[in-house]
Structure formats: structure tokens, C-alpha cells
Symmetry: C2
Subunit: 333 residues, 2 copies
């Protein structure tokens, strides 16, 4: 049998409302009764029922985090950050993944709303942001991560991927490389083109040629690695003069390193490899990957902070936050 405010009220010989006041620290109460009620609460082990509270306040103290794929080593770090940040203000996190499936994404959003979450943080699926803009009209607050979406009600937190990609090129050029290839991901929607864009711009700034190869990758770590392997082989076969490769992400970079090794090119002496993301694995493989770090923890923490602020004060404007993407120099370039 659950213990309710009624039980506490009876035992402490006060009204239900008084118990409510004590629980919520509403003040208008004498020191004596407050203490007495508190004692009964402790004694009975009373805990407020969030559903009942939520029914009247329209708040559940829970937020939703929607990611593409929890198996991608990128997202657990983000999730941890969101969880920790939410926890300090007593919020729970519901985790969902949409597997880059648009239908699934919409179903999840609907379902989170029905569940009564107070706000949602989402890494959108590949199908553009129009559905999210529509969604934000019937639900707020909403924070979108690593996508650019210009809509007053929607908060944005993202890494400066264009600049990050440019940094990789600058570094390689500084090391003397002139023939630089890129392995990109074909599945990319608009935002994923950011790497390509930064890459091209930086090359152009140095009047360098543009060589790239696209790969169609699935969503598992293994397929990204295999894809990177195949793409690197193709790229190096088509353009044997290439001395450096910039990769869409670290997993593909790991595959590219393998390809080089199998083609008897030493990394980094004969072919430098730069990855992207700086997942944990990047520092563990040999040669350790030189890569562009996205601060995943900060990404999640910032998104959560923004969501919680919007929750606190709904007159607040949703803002856009852009995090730096820094170059991490290790062994592969």
C-alpha cells in the first residue's frame, strides 16, 4: 500500500494541504508544525507521487533524449552528460533512439509527449528539420543538437564542424601535404556536409585540388570501419599521389589506417590519416588517431543546461550555442 499525503496528514493531525506545503517548502507554515509533519514523513517514508503532482502541475520532471543510435560510441558520452546535468535539478532522462528512421522519430516524439516529458533534446534523423519545426509548434521546449535550425522556439547546440574540418586541412598543409583526399559519408543530410564544406574551403584557400571518395555506410561501428577501409583503398588506387586522408569520422579513419597498412603505406610517414569526433577508441588504436575532437560531454551538458533554462523560464529566448572542434594531434598524422 502506497503512503499518501492523506496518511501523513492524519498521523500528524493536520490537513493534506499542510503536508503539501511542507513537502514543497512553501513557507506559510509555523516552525513547529513543519517539523512535526517532517518527522511523520520520515517515519512513514512518504514520497510524493509524481504522477499525481504532474497531473495538476503539468510537469513530470523528466526530459527526453532522442539519439540516432545508442551503439555509436559517440552518443553514450552525450547521454551521460545530459543525465548528470539533468540530475542536479531533479530531472530524469528518458532515452530513445530512432535509428535514423523518420517514422520512428515521429513515433518517439509523440510517445514522449504522451508520456508527459517536460522537454526534449534531439539529434534529428536524416530527413531535414521541417518535421521538427512543425512539432515544435505543439510542443516546447525543444533543443536540437548538431543541426542548424532557425526557428524561434527551438534551441540549438552544435559543434563548429566546418571550422574543425578546416583545421584538419590546415594542419596537414602545414605538415607539407599537398595532395589531400577525403572520405565522406554518402548518407549525409545537409548538416553532415559541414565536414565537406570545411574541407573544400580550406583546400581552396591553399589552391589545392579536391579529391574525395564517397562511401555508403550503415550504422554499425563495424560497417563504418569496413567502409573506411574500402574507400581508402579506392582513393589511394585512383590517386596514388595522395599523402594524406581526412575522414568523416574516427571509425572510417581506423578502416583507412588498415587499408594503408595493407597497401604497404606506413602511417603517417607515407600517408597521414585524420579522423573526426575523437571517440575513446581513437586514442586506443595503434597508431593512435590524430583527429578533430567534438566535446561530446560539453555538447550534452550544454543542451541539457539550455533545456533546463527554457523549462525554468518559458519567456526565455531559445539560443544557439556553437562549440569549438579542436585538433588533437596523436600518431596518425
Amino acid at each position: 500500500m502506497r503512503i499518501t499525503m492523506k496518511d501523513v496528514a492524519q498521523r500528524a493531525d493536520v490537513s493534506i494541504k499542510t503536508v503539501s506545503r511542507v513537502v514543497n517548502g512553501e513557507g506559510e507554515i509555523s516552525e513547529a508544525t513543519s517539523r512535526r509533519v517532517q518527522e511523520v514523513i520520515d517515519e512513514l517514508g512518504y514520497r510524493p507521487n509524481r504522477m499525481a503532482r504532474g497531473l495538476v502541475t503539468q510537469r513530470t520532471n523528466s526530459i527526453g533524449l532522442v539519439v540516432p543510435n545508442i551503439n555509436n560510441p559517440f552518443y553514450p558520452e552525450v547521454a551521460e552528460a545530459v543525465m548528470s546535468t539533468a540530475r542536479v535539478s531533479q530531472h530524469h532522462m528518458l532515452l530513445c533512439s530512432h535509428e535514423n528512421n523518420y517514422q520512428e522519430q515521429q513515433a518517439i516524439l509523440d510517445s514522449l509527449v504522451a508520456q508527459g516529458v517536460d522537454g526534449i533534446i534531439i539529434f534529428p534523423a536524416l530527413h531535414g528539420v521541417e518535421p521538427l519545426i512543425r512539432f515544435s509548434k505543439s510542443f516546447s521546449p525543444l533543443v536540437v543538437v548538431n543541426h542548424e535550425v532557425d526557428h524561434p522556439g527551438i534551441g540549438v547546440v552544435r559543434a563548429d564542424i566546418v571550422k574543425g574540418a578546416a583545421r584538419a586541412v590546415e594542419y596537414l598543409v602545414g605538415k607539407g601535404h599537398r595532395q589531400i583526399g577525403m572520405i565522406k559519408a554518402e548518407r549525409s543530410p545537409a548538416n553532415r556536409r559541414w565536414r565537406e564544406q570545411g574541407f573544400k574551403q580550406a583546400l581552396a584557400a591553399h589552391q589545392l585540388d579536391f579529391r574525395e571518395t564517397a562511401l555508403v555506410a550503415g550504422d554499425s561501428a563495424a560497417s563504418d570501419i569496413d567502409g573506411g577501409y574500402a574507400a581508402a583503398r579506392e582513393l589511394l588506387t585512383r590517386h596514388p599521389d595522395i599523402t594524406a586522408i581526412f575522414c568523416y569520422n574516427d571509425l572510417m579513419a581506423i578502416g583507412a589506417v588498415r587499408a594503408c597498412q595493407d597497401m604497404s603505406r606506413r602511417v603517417p610517414e607515407d600517408c597521414a590519416i585524420v579522423g573526426f569526433d575523437d571517440i575513446t577508441m581513437a586514442s586506443i588504436v595503434r597508431p593512435a588517431l590524430t583527429t578533430i575532437r567534438i566535446n561530446k560531454y560539453e555538447l550534452g551538458a550544454e543542451a541539457a543546461r539550455q533545456l533546463l533554462m527554457l523549462l525554468d523560464d518559458d519567456s526565455r529566448e531559445a539560443s544557439h550555442v556553437v562549440l569549438e572542434a579542436d585538433l588533437i594531434i596523436r600518431e596518425s598524422a
Copy 2:
């Protein structure tokens, strides 16, 4: 403004209860009204409020998953499995991590109960299971993963780690190894001794000596690797005749491989290394790790299945499920 049953009822010119019947498919309703109400529901885009429903049914259609540390590559796979399994029966998953902190674990459990989750799946913190047994008296259903706990109300899903460890030894012995060391984790509570137990038993069966080294490891991937590195150096220095090492987990095994390389021992020719868990990284590092696989997806899926069954039918007995831990042969041994 939220759309409620009342709105639907007015518009369809029926009572609230009739709408409720349609929504829940309760049957006792004519085909005609049912269709009419359904049309209004679609037209208005009505979605039931789970909090209100939860308040009266005492169910929220959400379950809690409590893990030690979401950053450990082991747990996201489990989480995904739980999520997918829960989804088919319309359940959400709340994810929490207790960082192996007992206080935190209790706080999380309390908080999940207040949130109104229907059931909880937990990887316990290091402090034994008594608190969980106490907890299970005031809350059910509860499924514990990778711990053995004998209490009627608590379901258990775990991998057969003892046998897994024994398999590793059998394999090494079969390969001709006679001097086999083990790197274990000092932080281990009772259940974590399973590896040690299997290791010792298998050695004894072959009348082999027992050499081991303990390491005190933190909770990050990096510290496990570093710990494995240091432990392997120590072990090989103390017992230079060792030709094979069995490691507590894959991360430590990766560290051990490094140590061998730095000590000019080739892996596997001069020193074979066997890991445990089969995390994704195990197949990516070079040499790829021979390891004991815990089927993480199955672990999560089975735990979720059991929880959902207990949810469905509370007269059901909680059961104990033990999954095989198979040997995966790759390059390191």
C-alpha cells in the same frame, strides 16, 4: 491547450467513458459509435494523457534501467536491447547510472519509484545485494543482471562467467600453455570473483599453478587499459615463464597486449592474451582480441522480456536465466 477525452466526447456527442472504451478497445461498444469516436480522435489528434491514466491504473508504461556507468562500452549495448524489447510492448526506458556508488543507487531507486516506473532492471553497485532485497519488498518487479541473488521476488539474468573463464583456460591449455597468469580487478565484489573462480577451477583440473596479479582500477576505459598495462608488466616481471594471460576484461587485455609489446614479447607467439566481454573494440585493436563473449544484447533483451512478463502477470514466479559465455578466437591467443 491539450486535447482531452472531454473534448472528444463533446464533439462525438458521447460520454467520456465511451471515449475511454474506444481508446482502450474495451469492446462493449457498437461498431457505429466506435468508428465515429475514432474519427473524432484522429481529427482532433487526441492522445491519452499517461499521467492521468497512470494515476488511476498505477502504471506508467515506463521501466527503469540502472547501470553502473554508461561510458563503459558494455552498457550501451545492453541499453539498446532493453529499449528495443520494451518498445514492442509500448514501454519507455528511463536510464540512470549509479557510478558504483551505493548512496547514488539508493537515491536513484527511490526516485524511480516516485517517478512511477512499472519495473526496474538493475546492474547492482558493488555493495552486495541486501539493499536490493530490502528494496524489493516495497517494490516489484525487479530484475537483477549479472549478480546472483536468491530472493523469490527478484528475477535474475546473468552470464555464466565461471564457465566462460574456465573455457578460456581450457583453450589456452589446449594450445600447450602451462604457465598461465591472470589479471583480476581488485574492486570486485562477490560476483566479480566469478572469473577468478572459473580460472582457478580450470587450472586445478589440470594440476597447474596459480599465478595472478590484482589491479586496482577506476571506472574509465582509459584507467582499465592503463591498469591492465601495469599489471601485465608486473606479472611478467615476477613470473617470466608465463606464456599466457587471462584478463578480467577486454580493456585490461588491451593494456596487457601493449605491455607485452613494450617488453618485446610478441602476441600471441611469446605471450597469449585472452580478454573478457567481447566489446566492439576487441575486434578492432591489433592483434584482435581472443576473448570470452558475453552476449550483451541477449542479456538486456532477456532481462527486459522477464520484466515485461512479470509486469503482465504478477502471480508469475521470477526466474533465473543463465546465458552461455562463449570463447571467441581471434588473434591474441
